[in-house]
């Protein structure tokens, strides 16, 4: 008669969370999934694994989606994007063409909207109001049914507050099928610690039905439990942890490495211009480097150890002086 099993929406894998990248992506990313894959810091290492496993018909969501979305679109992995900013569309090229042709459907939101929608998804509420968008052309009925859209009336809804009449826009909850993010560290149980400004990462961790995280360091469980206020999501909400240094490169990871603009411009800037340019990039950096160690080695061979040294995040003070979570061992009771 013991209460057993689990009806939760989360795929619990308490047995073993430390997986290789191929295992984690194979197990937790399925064709057709809605994928959150970062905003300020993106997990390129796992993104490339998605490309190598040729996942198809994915939707990508996020506040601003950058190089991870560009690579996934050019690889034919995604056919929908729900975001506030699509960096790949900034300049004319293949991404813009895919959006024009209908090959890549899109629903335009904003950074605040996506963050609130992820929070609503995490909280298990069906919608959350915002006071943004009011007065903009996003809400102009003339723009309903635009050819890129795929959400229809489920994109948002207007409602005056029943309490004070304030006009609001109701944003529907967003629960990605899988959240893929880099972080500084985790333990083998999936307890993730992340610090620094983090955009919409916290709520994406909590909103994802499945969560795959790649970390710079695996630390002992005690290191997590000694400073539980740094934990952004507890292990029991996480599906898999991948130990993958430099997983975010060429984006940044506070305390470890900064953005590599030189690489972004040399290797990335041209990839949207022609399918040949992308194929050359992918052959070298995605297929040619089947794991992150090979990628880092190839990077060093190509640009030198100095390049890796230069992006190292080595400036700034140590943190956390004088923080204690202590309690009294023997309480004062009458």
């Amino acid at each position: 008669m013991a209460v057993a099993g689990s009806s939760s929406r989360l795929p619990r894998v308490p047995e073993r969370k430390l997986l290789s990248a191929p295992e984690a992506i194979n197990r937790f990313v399925s064709d057709g999934d809605t994928v959150y894959a970062g905003y300020t810091s993106v997990c390129m290492g796992l993104t490339y694994e998605i490309v190598r496993q040729r996942k198809r018909h994915l939707e990508i969501v996020g506040g601003s989606v950058g190089i991870q979305a560009t690579v996934l679109a050019l690889s034919g992995c995604i056919d929908r994007v729900r975001a506030g900013y699509i960096a790949g569309a900034l300049r004319p090229g293949i991404i813009s063409e895919m959006m024009d042709s209908g090959e890549l459907k899109y629903e335009d939101y904003s950074n605040q909207a996506i963050a609130l929608m992820l929070m609503a998804g995490a909280l298990g509420i069906p919608f959350i109001p915002t006071r943004s968008f009011l007065g903009s052309d996003y809400l102009d009925p003339a723009n309903e049914g635009h050819p890129g859209g795929y959400l229809g009336n489920n994109k948002w809804a207007q409602l005056d507050s029943p309490f004070d009449g304030q006009k609001t826009l109701l944003l529907p909850a967003l629960t990605p099928d899988v959240t893929i993010l880099p972080a500084q560290r985790a333990d083998e149980f999936g307890n993730v610690q992340l610090w620094g400004h983090m955009g919409d990462a916290k709520w994406a961790f909590w909103a994802g039905k499945k969560v795959v995280v790649a970390v710079e360091e695996i630390v002992p469980n005690e290191a997590i439990r000694n400073d539980p206020g740094r934990t952004v999501v507890p292990g029991f909400m996480v599906s898999a942890v991948v130990h993958m240094p430099y997983s975010a490169h060429p984006s940044s990871m506070a305390g470890y490495y900064d953005t590599d603009y030189a690489f972004q411009r040399q290797a990335f800037d041209g990839i949207s211009r022609s399918s040949e340019a992308f194929a050359a990039f992918a052959d070298e950096w995605i297929y040619g480097c089947p794991d992150r160690e090979t990628y880092v080695r190839h990077y060093v061979e190509t640009f030198g150890q100095d390049a890796l040294q230069q992006i190292r995040a080595d400036t700034g003070p140590d943190a956390g002086q004088g923080i204690r979570y202590t309690y009294s061992n023997e309480l004062r009771f009458p």
Binding site: M1, A2, V3, A4, G5, S6, S7, S8, R9, L10, R12, P14, G121, A122, L123, G124, I125, F189, N191, W206, A207, N221, I224, R225, P228, G229, T231, V232, V233, P234, G235, F236, M237, Y325, T326, Y327, S328, N329, E330, L331, F333
Partner: protein
């Protein structure tokens, strides 16, 4: 395992609850006895159970030589050994309402035949006979946890046909009522009293069956009639009703070690 005869019924209520904890999954511990029952389970039976509380405690792992069960859901001791500490929006929102909880442990002043709980008032809300503290996080745990174990002393005034005020829905008024109200189905739920363990007639989470509380087992030496005498409606009795195993000396000893200040269990009660 040597058994003990030196125990109170309230102690056995906690011990029996600990035995009923699921072997793994996420448990949200409500105010009061749920805390000590949850810690007892974690240390003795279900080391993989994940203990959480609503103030922002996630996966608290007590040291083997922990000096006490946390005194209340907000004891500072929860900060040492938790995998994460944060706040109530994370705990009662992202974790509980977000669907990450497997079981909630609750107490209440009253419970009724459908497992509804009352934490607010005795008497009518518009004509209060006796005011209670209020529901705290009890309502959301009852509404949102996929199953609930309640610890309620077996007293006639507490086991009532219909709670004076349903703060915390069980099966409300019968099959289908939860989903009709907008709640997810729930179960198998339990009530552990000071006299026995009671389930519910809910073959599929409250959609069918009578959804009524059903006596599954009694404490050693107690007959179903004794339980019925402390229950305000004709209690369903399971065909195979049995006695639970008496407490072991280990169970009693650990429970008492976890309550050094007799905060949870005073020898003079029950």
């Amino acid at each position: 395992m040597p058994t003990s005869t030196d125990y109170t019924l309230a102690e056995l209520m906690c011990i029996a609850t600990a035995r009923e904890m699921p072997p793994k999954g996420v448990a949200m511990l409500g105010m009061g006895l749920p805390v000590i029952a949850g810690v007892l389970a974690k240390l003795l039976h279900t080391p993989e159970i994940t203990l959480c509380t609503e103030v922002g405690v996630f996966d608290w792992k007590p040291a083997d030589d922990i000096p006490r069960a946390p005194v209340g859901i907000h004891d500072l001791i929860f900060n040492s050994g938790s995998a994460m500490v944060s706040d109530m929006v994370d705990a009662l929102g992202a974790l509980l309402m977000g669907g990450g909880t497997d079981v909630g442990l609750l107490g209440a002043a009253q419970v009724d035949r459908f497992g509804n709980l009352n934490t607010l008032v005795i008497g009518a809300y518009k004509n209060v006979e006796r005011r209670l503290g209020g529901t705290g996080g009890n309502t959301e745990i009852a509404c949102l946890a996929p199953r609930v174990i309640s610890l309620i002393p077996q007293e006639f005034r507490r086991f009532v046909d219909r709670v004076d005020f349903n703060t915390s829905p069980g099966y409300i008024d019968g099959p289908g009522a939860r989903t009709q109200a907008g709640l997810t189905s729930q179960g198998p739920n339990l009530v552990v009293s000071t006299m026995g363990v009671l389930g519910f007639d809910t073959p599929d989470g409250g959609e069918t069956g009578t959804c009524e509380m059903t006596l599954e087992s009694t404490f050693p030496g107690l007959e179903p009639d004794t339980v019925q005498a402390q229950c305000g409606w004709p209690l369903r009795i399971s065909n195979g009703v049995k006695e639970i195993e008496p407490p072991t000396t280990d169970e009693v000893a650990l429970l008492r070690r976890l309550d050094p200040y007799q905060f949870y269990l005073r020898p003079d009660r029950y």
